[in-house]
Subunit: 299 residues, 2 copies
């Protein structure tokens, strides 16, 4: 293949993704592995990176731009946080001292907020991607995941954000709580929608509604996929209740995949204007924008 | 010791408790083990019981009255549920066919509710204990635990109830979620009280408030015990928000121990009248009342 000009890296808790990039932002190759930050000690990152991407290297030094949990404490090298309000993915980058002389590695900083206390690491790069795609966007960005972020942006910078543990609560409750008993792997879209409606309308009823799933499993005969889908819906509804000040009367960009469109479909009836964009694409756009910024080039 | 007349048994998911009782309801001896229902297959219950209580037996048959999860599916012998409205701990008891001819074992039924679907097993006996202690009590009984029950009683029967997964959510979040990182074993009473207030005032904010604990741990320096206590407070606050229709303007009896008095102390400022009673005592009073009912005696 054409020799790459630089390498883009999204290194999360569970996954590592690398892209071989040309100088004008085209993707030459893409690879992924499950050697996420959560599986590695600090001195294992360089080898894990080379295992996946060594053949992207050429003679001379190669710029590598990294976002995500690789910059957390216990990661490849701790990168700081930039306090909001701030331009996402800009300022105070961290250079990694690599043993391989071909590597010139930069880790992008996360974002922090003092009150209420909050942090993000990785999503700021997707936000930068959204802003490079929609440069004049003033509104709200929702980034669903293990720790879903709701973010208000204006004038090209992040003004405030809030993290919801929706994905982690779903994983804990579906795998480790009493609700795991009698839960099948199907999905019932009607039960999901009902859960969203109930969770949003009565967030205080969450804890009771959760046990209600178990009781219904004992007393009645839930349809296939009903328990799992209603659980997911209740937690998305709880999140929407908590994030109301973000989406109410706002334009919202939701960053995710096809599944996200299904889980956050109810937003289209709640917010003023909702667009769904692809998470992978936004990550890449954000890393490309950060690369341009680092090397003084234009995107 | 004096020969017992019958044996009272509280067999929960995690613990087994037995009492050697006289015919007039006095306790001759008390024992406990950690061989709860969750640790046993159905054919192991009789041996586990005998291991703990065999020397309570005398020549001839001994009545054994059991409440709790030993009556669940997968327990010693499945005992049914009585649908509310119902007198707690009465009706449709289940006789266990024991191999040891000295044992005459009866398991008390749980309570169920069709809409919203809910179940309890064990708490109905504590409720019967409360009603034997306060025969004319019309009001609300709160039984905190892994699955906290809020129960409305009137005219000696349970009218409705609702289960909140407060204890289980606390265990999951403090042991298995991201919040476990940086959580110490101390307890900060001020942080607990703040959590209760915030959880009750803004249940929709729960998921955001949870991640805020993690972010505060990363950005600031929480005082010892603050994260754990605020987590507990937020979950109790969420429960109180969901149970408002129970405690609002009601007389409430809270069944628990010294710790319960601390965790539910805020109720004294919310409900009309709050009394704390001892859980062990109520269990024993309920089993004694069921025994009297079974044997046609009086308490």
């Amino acid at each position: 293949m054409t020799a790459p000009d630089w390498i883009a890296v999204d290194w999360g808790t569970s996954n590592l993704r690398v892209w071989a990039m040309t100088s004008d932002g085209a993707v030459l190759a893409e690879r992924a592995s499950d050697r996420g930050m959560g599986t590695l000690a600090p001195d294992q990152f360089e080898a894990a990176f080379l295992d996946l991407a060594e053949d992207f290297l050429r003679a001379g030094r190669m710029t590598v731009v990294v976002c995500g949990m690789a910059g957390a404490r216990g990661g490849w090298c701790e990168a700081g946080y930039v306090a909001v309000p701030a331009m996402p993915g800009r300022g105070a980058t961290t250079r990694v001292t690599a043993q391989d002389p071909r590597l010139d590695v930069t880790i992008l900083p996360g974002l922090s907020q003092a009150d209420p206390p909050d942090v993000m690491r990785g999503e700021e790069t997707q936000i930068a991607g959204v802003l490079s795609r929609f440069p004049d966007f003033d509104g709200v960005i929702c980034l669903p995941g293990t720790h879903t972020k709701w973010v208000r942006v204006a004038g090209g910078s992040v003004r405030e954000f809030r993290t919801f543990m929706t994905g982690e609560l779903y994983a804990l409750l579906s795998r480790h709580s009493i609700l795991r008993l009698g839960m099948d792997d199907d999905w019932n879209a009607v039960a999901f929608a009902g859960g969203v409606t109930d969770g949003l309308a009565d967030p205080g009823g969450l804890s009771g509604a959760l046990f209600g799933l178990r009781a219904r499993g004992l007393l009645q005969s839930p349809r296939a996929g009903e328990t799992r889908a209603r659980l997911s819906g209740l937690l998305v509804g709880l999140e929407l209740a908590g994030a109301r000040s973000f989406w109410d009367r706002a334009g919202v960009v939701v960053v995710g995949d096809e599944r996200t469109r299904e889980l956050y479909g109810s937003l289209t009836e709640l917010a003023a204007d909702v667009r769904f964009v692809d998470a992978r694409e936004m990550t890449l756009a954000g890393l490309t924008s950060a690369h341009a910024d680092l090397t003084g080039g234009t995107e």
